[in-house]
């Protein structure tokens, strides 16, 4: 810092600051535009690739015909509309919501390592979903008639919400400066939930076991239009709840008291964020199982590119998550074709090194 004499003329800082703010805005728009184009390109590519390959131009043609309501029933049409489109739409939605939920959690807990998969929110959802599969059957048998609603997504939402509330409770007790404690509590909760899943596996019958095995690492193999129709509205609500939180999360990054000083209704924001994350993670787990690390990797990369401000972070994370999960699923279903790799293996291969990198560069244990 140089000494500025009282009489010195005003330096170029004024225009520098304006330039800085303008260049930041421009970069933001450029990245958003690029991501939008990229998402569309990846979606078209992912729809085209597979055992029955469809060229990108043909994919667009089929989609256009389908959108017009034209009744075409050739093989391309059946594959694109009947099989690939629901799957790709689901990967886009699940990817977007997982990345956004990660960004929201990290903002809430002021910790870039807070990922729904790592701190047990996904595990909570998976445990509840597994319980719904194993115990749900017995419940229906005992009742003698089916439940009036689908138990699985409700249970997954409940499990995720429970995980979030536990973290929030630990965070409140630990205080603002001990966010590492929250992370450790989350790890413990994840371990507990996984033990619970193991227990359920032990008492499950063969059919339940097959259903259960898919929770462990996640798979989009069962993507159908009906599963998409079930998940999409809930994911939309989760994203809609998270969308306006950007400014509040920015303020929360400075601290809870400071956020209040800056006019943020902190308790309400936290409640909305909890429900958004629980809904997003719960629905994703119910639809495709636990896909880890997306919520940590994507916001981390976005922060490196755009800085930590949450409004662009949430939007770019949605796009980034959609791209990442769609590409990961593309690899998962092609690399060992005709067999499918669990997608969670791929995201873990990508995410674990990022996690280690984040841990290594953390200063002074504050995380």
């Amino acid at each position: 810092m140089t000494t500025v004499a009282p009489t010195a003329p005003i330096p170029a800082e004024a225009s520098d600051l304006g330039l800085y703010l303008t260049s930041r805005r421009l970069r933001l728009r450029l990245v958003m535009f690029g991501l939008t184009v990229f998402v569309a390109a990846v979606a078209v590519a992912a729809i085209g690739v597979g055992a029955h390959a469809v060229a990108p131009a043909r994919v667009i043609g089929v989609l256009e015909a389908w959108a017009r309501g034209a009744a075409v029933f050739d093989r391309d049409h059946l594959v694109v509309i009947g099989v690939r489109l629901p799957r790709v739409l689901l990967t886009l939605l699940v990817g977007a919501t997982l990345a956004v939920c990660g960004a929201v959690m990290q903002g809430l807990f002021r910790n870039p390592l807070a990922d729904p998969g790592i701190v047990g929110v996904s595990s909570g959802a998976a445990l509840a979903a597994a319980a719904a599969i194993v115990v749900g059957d017995r419940l229906i048998a005992a009742l003698g008639r089916p439940l009036p609603f689908d138990l699985l997504p409700v249970a997954a939402f409940g499990g995720a919400l429970l995980g979030m509330m536990l973290l929030g409770w630990v965070g409140r007790r630990a205080g603002q400066t001990r966010m590492a404690t929250v992370l450790l509590a989350g790890l413990a909760f994840a371990a507990l939930a996984n033990a619970g899943i193991g227990l359920l596996v032990a008492i499950a019958d063969d059919r339940q076991l097959r259903d259960l095995s898919f929770w462990s690492l996640g798979s989009f193999g069962g993507s159908t239009w009906s599963r998409l129709a079930q998940a999409a509205p809930l994911i939309a609500v989760s994203l809609a709840l998270a969308a306006p939180l950007g400014r509040a999360l920015d303020a929360l990054a400075i601290g809870e008291a400071e956020a209040f000083h800056m006019g943020i209704p902190v308790e309400m924001v936290k409640r909305v964020a909890f429900v958004s994350v629980a809904l997003g993670v719960g629905t994703s787990v119910a639809a495709v199982g636990a896909v880890g690390f997306v919520g940590m990797v994507v916001p981390h990369v976005v922060r490196l590119a755009l800085g930590p401000a949450h409004r662009p972070l949430l939007l770019a994370s949605a796009f980034g998550g959609a791209v990442l999960v769609t590409l990961a699923d593309l690899v998962a279903r092609t690399v060992t074709a005709p067999a499918e790799l669990p997608i969670g293996i791929l995201t873990a291969l990508l995410g674990a090194p990022v996690f280690l990198h984040l841990v290594a560069r953390t200063r002074g244990g504050a995380i």
Binding site: M1, T2, T3, V4, A5, P6, A8, E13, A14, D16, L17, G18, Y20, L21, R24, G107, R110, N111, P112, Q176, T177, R247, D250, A251, L252, A253, I254, G255, A257, E258, F260, H261, M262, G263, I264, P265, V266, R303, G307, P308, A309, R363, A366
Partner: protein
């Protein structure tokens, strides 16, 4: 408590914020009891007192962050507890003691958060002008593009001061009173910046803002305050003009330190540095860099 009496000039100005016999218990202990205090527009009030005297609790009560267990806190005659976080944020800004930023915000962006908190409807030019002015007032303009987490403690403190100023600037323009709360704003600052920050606070008060600052440096407090509030064990020990409050008797009673023989330090031959920086009041309203002002 002989020194607790209203100031003549204060009685005339209607208070912006009135704390009436407030008390607060934390962990079964009376952290604050029976403290009354007025904050008036244009007045710089400094709170002094030993560690654990209840200074920060008083500030948190006054800014609406926590509610009193007894007594009342009124903003322009209306209980502060009925006001929303946003309503308060448009009228007062707070610089708390230790704000640890969770992510790598650039200094200009962090100060921008202060502006954005309440200045959503303002133009882009207004925003950048306000941020610029706040950065300058806190002498952090040269750090504008730096990652706030790489700064020193003192620099960070000045950035949070700038953030509070930007919020104050962006806040309500409805003509109502505004307030600025500073919790130990100079705790990690070097001598020149201590003075620079207090001069900036003084200028803000002179523009009609009610300023409440917690300070440990009694010389600094005496030099800038219109009114000093001394707390001791959660109670009001004294309140009044600096000359009425900062007396040998009070320093001995409240801080258990004898101020006599203040011309020398314990180290032989090392004098007490009491910088002769204090310009006449009129001078302080003039904008200037905080440097080069010490003698």
């Amino acid at each position: 408590m002989a020194s607790v009496r209203p100031l003549p000039s204060v009685a005339a100005a209607s208070p912006l914020l009135r704390l009436d016999r407030v008390g607060r218990r934390i962990g079964g202990r009376d952290v604050l009891a029976e403290v009354s205090l007025d904050l008036a527009p244009g007045r710089l009030t400094v709170v002094i007192g030993p560690n654990g005297a209840g200074k920060t609790t008083l500030l948190r009560l006054a800014c609406g962050e926590i509610a009193p267990d007894s007594g009342s806190v009124d903003w322009e005659g209306v209980a502060i507890s009925t006001r929303s976080a946003w309503w308060l944020a448009t009228r007062r800004a707070v610089m708390s003691q230790s704000a640890e930023v969770g992510f790598s915000f650039a200094v200009a962006d962090l100060v921008g958060l202060g502006f954005d908190a309440v200045g959503r409807r303002r133009s882009r030019t207004e925003r950048s002008t306000a941020i610029e002015a706040a950065l300058r007032a806190a002498d952090v303009a040269a750090l504008a593009a730096r990652d706030v987490r790489t700064l020193s403690g003192g620099e960070r403190q000045r950035v949070h001061f700038a953030r509070a100023l930007a919020q104050l600037d962006a806040g309500s323009r409805d003509g109502g009173g505004r307030a600025l709360f500073l919790d130990e704003p100079v705790a990690s600052l070097d001598l020149a910046h201590q003075i620079g920050l207090m001069e900036a606070a003084r200028r803000i008060a002179d523009r009609g803002v009610a300023v409440l600052a917690i300070l440990h440096d009694l010389n600094l407090a005496a030099s800038f305050a219109d009114e000093i509030v001394a707390l001791h064990d959660g109670r009001l020990a004294a309140r009044g003009r600096p000359s009425e409050v900062i007396t040998e008797a009070l320093v001995e009673r409240v801080f258990a330190v004898s101020p006599r023989g203040a011309g020398e330090t314990r180290a032989p031959g090392v004098p007490v540095i009491a910088p002769q920086f204090f310009s006449p009041r009129g001078d302080l309203t003039r904008s200037r860099a905080p440097h080069g002002t010490t003698s």
